[in-house]
């Protein structure tokens, strides 16, 4: 029984388990706050494997993944990076927002992500064969891609792909209730608001409201905040800085929850 709460959207749990059983790497794409990280954590617990999370950024070097030499009183010693740890001990190595990392950094994953399943470390001359429980998982948000950022096709084509979207209304409602403890009525309203905001196109708003923000709003309400205020702080202000958009979102909230 896993402690982390995760409500499946479709067949992702079965697929992930199958991939883990066959030692295949998995790629997860989806917008922010739709449950990618939560899913990995829940699967880690379900499969009984540790999760090593690395949040990628454009200054991430291969040494940050593999490891480097450090100094102590006896001189230098080798310190494994998160990737190497997972390869040695078994576990899920989860690289979040992988397109933020430079393309030359992600190339170190290639030998791990195909049938070879080995990690060569050129600094120490070691070639580590992956533990049978080692699994590689990467994720990214397709909305943030552009010409110079993006995965090399040679990297992308080594993964089984799972595409996440915001959960369906009834699933999302259940998630909000479970996470925050608000009443079903309030959760339904939040889901309605989200449904409406998600209809906006990218020319109106940069990215739609995430399930995570809805849960924040619900948590504030459960704490006793006035629903209108809770939505203003968690949903409206977090989504945009543009006055027109703010005005409309504010209007939408006041239509659902009267301001008083």
């Amino acid at each position: 029984m896993s402690r982390t709460y995760y409500l499946p959207q479709s067949n992702e749990v079965e697929l992930f388990e199958a991939a883990a059983g066959m030692n295949l790497p998995v790629l997860i794409k989806g917008p922010t706050g739709c449950g990618k990280t939560r899913f990995i954590e829940a699967m880690g617990e379900k499969l009984g494997r540790d999760v090593y999370t690395v949040v990628c950024h454009d200054d991430l070097s291969a040494a940050d993944l593999i490891g480097r030499h450090l100094i102590d009183e006896n001189g230098t010693f080798w310190q494994d990076g998160p990737l190497t740890k997972a390869v040695r001990n078994g576990g899920i190595c989860y690289l979040d927002e992988i397109i933020e990392a430079r393309k030359d950094t992600t190339v170190v994953l290639h030998s791990l992500a195909d049938y070879r399943r080995v990690l060569p470390i050129d600094r120490t001359g070691e070639v580590i064969e992956a533990h049978p429980d080692f699994m590689l998982v990467v994720s990214y948000n397709p909305g943030y891609q552009n010409v110079l950022k993006g995965m090399k096709p040679s990297t992308k084509q080594r993964f089984l792909s799972l595409s996440f979207t915001y959960p369906k209304p009834d699933i999302e409602k259940a998630v909000i209730i479970k996470e925050s403890g608000v009443s079903e009525e309030i959760a339904q309203k939040l889901v309605n608001i989200a449904g409406e905001i998600r209809r906006l196109s990218d020319s109106d708003i940069q990215e739609a409201v995430s399930t995570r923000l809805l849960i924040y709003a619900a948590k504030l309400m459960a704490k006793g905040f006035n629903p209108h205020q809770a939505c203003m702080h968690s949903i409206v202000e977090s989504l945009s800085d543009e006055e027109d958009v703010l005005e409309v979102l504010q209007k939408l909230i006041s239509l659902h929850f009267s301001a008083s």
Partner: protein, 589 residues
């Protein structure tokens, strides 16, 4: 009759004026942008525009519409058709400004839900109003208050009272909270009772409209063809004019008129002698007078073009004619762009562009501990590069960007009543140049339009060597919409220019408002294929092409031309100047 209508109108206006609270009036202009987003929020059709409605002068025999509109009165009502939503220009029914504001949102919500093809529009309105107030508690308070208030103020509105449903008489006043059918819809409603019939009718209408459009386009094409002919035979035009003036059969005798005409004629002949090229083109092609002159630089170059049917290049098929504008006034940055520029500069400052760390140097400002530790842990010390220093250097981005702006005739079309596409392109070019100047990137700006393969006008706004100055801005300001869009040729020419630059990274940024097209076969598959080929050539040369367009249909052909991640469609052209810069920053980070 006119007088009667006038009297009636006068009486009505005075009556009406007294009923409104002008102090708490809200105008559509201030709300338009928010309402549009709100309409999208409620799932409205994104292709529809929002407009101000004309007065609806409702005058028919006793009909359904008349029953709830009053006889022959005119009103500002909210309604919609296939293309747009129409709102009253101002709303001032309520004393409280907030309520008038809410009134606009209410109408917007109603417009997104009410089925305009419904037979019983009264019931439809009631149904939707009920639906909305149940879904949105915020509307519930508004509607209840508004209904009560309006009923008290306009007793003629009695029919919205559920108890007296049948009380629809000639004196009733249209309910400002309701949506009314469009004029065209109303007639179809009368003629057909079957909804299928109506939709069929609509389909037909679309088709005939499309045909009309096509015909119109063909006509324009013909015009251009004769223009093109005249361009190369200016003398023939002159002789024609002479004939017209001299050949006056009905007026043989010498009179003042004839003398006057003769004087005119002399002036024309004189003018012809020292007419420069620009003024001749003006005359031939009927371009409005222009203080700036386009001066040709050389005879032009010939470039190849790709023929997809023959699967080969047509050698030296297209003639590119470079132009530069002379006699332009230097122009400082326009006031309207200053605020935007400040915002962008603040963003640029945040990016900390000036300092960059360089590792692994044999000597430098600081010791790089990482490389020292690495050396210590290295198995074979003599094998290690032993570069232990790092230093900070001012960053040069080493980026050359060529902006290619499409200034075809279609950019003359309006975004709003006052702003044309070409104005947005000009603003974008200015804001963009400012940003690039700030970033110290080297850049060039070129604009193009074409008439067949014979003449692709390639206007030099700023080449890579010239410094960005008020004069460049003046040239941007002097840009006038030209003819057609032979995109492939312009891309090839731009690539040639970019290739001469020394920078490591080269970006070709294309600002466009539509598909490639020209008067000849370039309009259609031929043009698309040639452009695609040109882009492939550009990529092979190591230049990154990127296209920014405001054409909503662009998603259909741009992925084919540029690849999936190499273009951006901007729906709201007003955001163009800012978005162009943002895209650039993301591209070259």
């Amino acid at each position: 009759m006119d007088q009667k209508v006038g009297q009636f109108w006068d009486r009505y206006v005075t009556k009406k004026a007294s009923r409104f609270y002008e102090k708490s009036q809200i105008s559509f202009e201030d709300k338009a942008k928010s309402l549009k987003i709100f309409y999208h929020l409620l799932g409205g059709d994104k292709a529809k525009e929002l407009h101000i409605t004309d007065k609806r002068f409702l005058k028919t025999s006793r009909t359904l519409l008349e029953k709830f509109s009053g006889k022959g009165k005119s009103f500002f009502l909210a309604w919609q058709d296939d293309k747009a939503l129409y709102f009253p220009a101002t709303l001032a029914y309520f004393e409280d400004k907030k309520l008038n504001d809410m009134h606009y949102y209410w109408l917007c919500a109603m417009l997104s839900h009410v089925n305009i093809n419904s037979h019983n529009i009264i019931n439809e309105n009631k149904k939707m109003a009920n639906f909305l107030i149940h879904k949105y508690p915020g509307f519930q308070d508004f509607y209840k208050n508004a209904e009560e208030f309006l009923l008290g103020k306009y007793p003629e509105l009695s029919y919205i009272n559920p108890l007296s449903e049948d009380l629809i008489d000639d004196n009733s006043y249209p309910n400002p909270l309701w949506i009314y059918p469009s004029v065209s819809n109303y007639t179809t409603l009368l003629d057909f009772n079957d909804e299928e019939e109506i939709s069929r009718q609509d389909g037909k209408k679309d088709k005939t409209e499309e045909l009309k459009m096509k015909k119109k386009a063909e006509q324009i094409d013909d015009d251009k063809e004769t223009d093109g002919l005249l361009l190369f035979l200016p003398e023939s035009l002159m002789s024609l004019m002479e004939q017209v003036n001299v050949d006056r059969q009905e007026n043989d005798s010498f009179d003042e008129d004839a003398l006057y005409n003769a004087e005119d004629l002399d002036e024309i002949t004189l003018g012809k002698k020292d007419a420069n090229l620009a003024s001749r083109i003006k005359m031939d092609l009927d371009i409005s007078a222009n203080s700036a002159e386009d001066y040709p630089l050389g005879k032009g170059y010939f470039r190849d073009e790709w023929d997809y049917k023959k699967e080969s290049y047509l050698k030296n098929y297209v003639c590119i004619k470079p132009y530069i504008s002379l006699h332009v006034e230097p122009l400082p940055l326009p006031k309207r762009l200053e605020k935007m520029m400040k915002q962008i500069q603040a963003e640029l400052d945040l990016m900390e562009l000036d300092r960059i760390k360089i590792d692994n140097l044999p000597y430098g400002d600081e010791i790089n501990l990482d490389s020292w530790i690495d050396y210590k842990g290295h198995q074979n010390h003599s094998n290690h590069p032993q570069r232990f220093f790092q230093s900070y250097k001012k960053k040069t981005r080493d980026m050359a960007t060529l902006i290619l702006a499409d200034i075809s005739l279609s950019t003359e079309s309006g975004i709003t009543q006052d702003i044309r596409v070409i104005d947005m392109i000009k603003d974008s070019l200015m804001v963009f140049s400012e940003s690039l100047q700030k970033l110290q990137d080297s850049f060039g700006i070129y604009a193009f339009s074409s008439i067949r393969n014979k003449k692709v006008n390639f206007h030099i706004i700023k080449n890579f060597k010239e410094k960005y100055s008020d004069l460049v801005r003046g040239r941007i300001d002097a840009i006038k919409p030209g003819y057609y869009t032979r995109l492939g040729a312009a891309i090839r020419e731009s690539a040639k220019i970019l290739q001469k630059q020394q920078s490591a990274n080269k970006l070709l940024l294309i600002l466009s408002d539509g598909k490639p097209n020209d008067v000849d076969r370039y309009d259609g598959r031929y043009g698309i294929e040639d452009t695609k080929k040109a882009i492939e050539e550009v990529k092979q040369k190591g230049i990154i092409p990127f296209c920014i367009t405001i054409d909503i249909e662009a998603k259909e052909y741009l992925p084919y031309l540029f690849g999936k991640n190499s273009f951006a469609v901007i729906r709201d052209a007003k955001k163009l100047p800012k978005v162009v810069t943002e895209i650039y920053m993301n591209l070259t980070k």
